[in-house]
Point group: C2
Chain length 555, copies 2
Amino acid sequence: MNENTLSIFALGGMNEIGKNMYVVQYSDDIIVIDCGGKFPDETLLGIDLIIPDLTYLEENKDKIRALIVTHGHEDHIGGIPYFFKKLNVPVYATRFTLGLIELKLEEHRLLRDTELVTITPDSELQFGTIGVSFFRVSHSIPDCLGIVFHTPEGNVVHTGDFKFDLTPADNQKVDINKMARIGDKGVLALISESTNAERPGLTPSEQMVASHMNEAFMKATGKIFVSTFASNVSRVQQVVDAAKNTNRKLALLGRSMVNVVSVAMERGYLTIPEGMLMDAKEVEQLPPEKVAILCTGSQGEPNAALARLATGNYRDVNIYADDTIIFAASPIPGNEKDVSRVIDNLFKLGAHVIYGSGSSTGMHVSGHGYQEDLKLMLTFMKPKYFIPIHGEYRMLHHHRLLAESVGIEPGNTFIMKNGEVMDIQHGVARQTRTIPAGDTFVDGVGVGDIGSVVLRDRKQLSEDGMLITVITLSRSEQKIISGPDTITRGFVFAKESDALLREVNKLVKQAVNDLENEERRQWNILKQSIKKSVGQFLFSKTKRKPMIIPIIIEI
Amino acid sequence: MNENTLSIFALGGMNEIGKNMYVVQYSDDIIVIDCGGKFPDETLLGIDLIIPDLTYLEENKDKIRALIVTHGHEDHIGGIPYFFKKLNVPVYATRFTLGLIELKLEEHRLLRDTELVTITPDSELQFGTIGVSFFRVSHSIPDCLGIVFHTPEGNVVHTGDFKFDLTPADNQKVDINKMARIGDKGVLALISESTNAERPGLTPSEQMVASHMNEAFMKATGKIFVSTFASNVSRVQQVVDAAKNTNRKLALLGRSMVNVVSVAMERGYLTIPEGMLMDAKEVEQLPPEKVAILCTGSQGEPNAALARLATGNYRDVNIYADDTIIFAASPIPGNEKDVSRVIDNLFKLGAHVIYGSGSSTGMHVSGHGYQEDLKLMLTFMKPKYFIPIHGEYRMLHHHRLLAESVGIEPGNTFIMKNGEVMDIQHGVARQTRTIPAGDTFVDGVGVGDIGSVVLRDRKQLSEDGMLITVITLSRSEQKIISGPDTITRGFVFAKESDALLREVNKLVKQAVNDLENEERRQWNILKQSIKKSVGQFLFSKTKRKPMIIPIIIEI
């Protein structure tokens, strides 16, 4: 099937925001793009992280030539440590992206075993039958790449995450002339991100933030706290600049803020004046109008610096009535309630809080292109085939409409699911086969050992708790010699449950006695009978359905 | 304390959206305003509903003269059935509000036992020392009231939920002249809702929806589905009118849509032309351009009509590629993800979907006044004291700023917590005491039998599951005669756990053997020792902390 065929597919990133992983394959040469993680929603009880299903890659590991990483956001690099536990492939990424990958590998103690190769937008690579070149795009993290795959079937372009920011704060300009040249040479297929395909207009420039940030710093009379993603180095630089302009020293709170800022400084992506950085311990010794603080927690994460500051639980630093807190990031869908809780707590401390969704406060702009950005990319590349990626279904759908609006033939846009494969042969694309793809759950150190049964049990336990009843039967006569002993967890208060549990014990005894001796020896029948009568009784009394676990001991 | 004192406090609705319940008391006369429910967030595992703590009212039940209900929304009437299980007090409300209360009491089979009194904006009542009169306000449900309490200390005004809609779709005009007269007579304290205190401007009028609704109906070539809150009768009427204008018959899907529409029709709040309503079964027999459907599920609720339609799981009715679905309601914070899931599924069916937050699509306007509405109310009433209610802290805070901007003295706004009491004597307000107030959890038929221990257990069970290990000891020698038998639920796959559980059994045996006979008889020591060694072992192997339940049987 793969001989002389160009195949394109996603192992993550279709119909979802998160765990991006895309594959371009020609004959026996596989190139993997990104390996992201995704945070579980509240239905995935106890799950820490979701990563792509790596089955196809494991089965074809001898063919994988490279993992190329477009940029360093969690939804593009979060799965890399788990990837390396199973696969050993060289990683290609820009200097800043590699810095973040190294941080992550170090945490998992995998750093020594991996081959990391630094590339630039000018790099040109050859992997078997596939040549690879790059172009710079702007986004909300430094050093982002789009990728061109030069295959015998034609050129395939992957945009990475992008917006067209012609005045980026870090001066890493999106290379539109190179994009035009790539388009002029002919693009067989364009793979483009869809996050903001529902939003009309052109994304505002990152530079917009500077004037608002400076103004807020100028007005503030107390300490200033700014919370943003540490990886948004341009945003961090603008905070540094505003602090410098107003003669404030700067403290960094939160582990990822400290780590990422140090990577950015070491590698020359961030300039902080000598002597400006201070330790958290120094904060309370300076006059408040001399203090600026950069902290994690813009998404309301309960354990991050800002949430702890807001409840007075941060060692060394307190928020007082005249302080100003700036949210320089928009809540990601699903985080709104956590963010609101933190804002409420800050107002309770009497602080000034600058917050609001989207770019309404001027303290945040999106890193993902709006509709006009997406149309620009489609217009530069003029692809024959178009694959919208990186979005929930409605975003992919709107991206298809945008493609049609700039002249892509309606039948030539392929909205695919994770694991659905586009095969191109002799210039003709077909989508006929699928490979395994889905969510792999990470819980603690376990990867893939949690499935639907475990989650179903957790759900039942979480809603109504459980009841355990233990009886001991004599092996010879199958009579009860001890028990029933019944305990509950997560079901009802102990004091409320005494009478209830006495009834349960009666029912258990009765269930045992009601069975003939022969049946009693078949524990499954006995257990079913106990579950049924106790379950019905509890539901009639409480309208709850705890998990009922009969345990039978035979002596 | 209460003799000749006017007291005002909330049992719910402060620092939260939901479970509104306010109390005005003079000497021995208590009047209760509203009795709402609140839906639990995802941290309250298994809880069905939250209602106010009724302790104070139960302890003072002989003093309660009336429960007055401002309007029929869940966050104002949802707790009423639970109120009536403990307290028997006459209920005063307008005709439409009483209709919804009756529906609710009927469900709980409490209808016969309660005294329901119909009032109008012109009613005047006297409860001991307190006279009560009313004024009409506009909101997003018919027949809403503001209340004036005439007490020996002075007049207290409670706004209910309101906006100033001068062109309401139902012609129930907000009575601004009466409000002005009330203000002119002098208001000692104003209790006013704060939901939209963060939003600048004046709320748009409900009539804005009509033209957009008609336009969408005119353009649609297939079936039209509109999802909204059934209680928003004006919105429902506008859908009926648009269907009439385009010669479509109308089907109602979803239990609450059917129930509330029938209450609204019976009581004359909704006019549906003869022969327009049809059964769901008729839908597929008509040409699609002759069909309009009103359905529940605008918040993405997984079991409501729209979510089931979107996945093809609704008996009798299907959505096809050319159909149009209109979300005529904005997602309530916390529901965004559920709503997005439904929208995605609708797009997958190929349907046209009209959606968007706030009033961006023209298909929804808020029922709660924005900043200018709130300032109007404050200006009419010119109260001496101001108590912002019905909002999270940041909303109450912004409402206070609005009050100051129209001339309320800064020290005279009281931002209170649930249970904090404002006492007014000789015209002077003080906030010195508190009464019991908090969340009462409803889980199944249990009210108040779930506390923090049960919830903590549910949380642990939900995240990492549990492990039960049973050993039987001989009473005489305290030797193991059976077990350990170990099972898990919600922890790991069975197939992954065999080796793990063998190790656990070894540890349990060892824990028993390591103890001296004397200690072994103290089961607490034995259990702690098992929990500790098994817990440490499991964490080291899996980084998970399941609940560990050792069960010891002695024979």
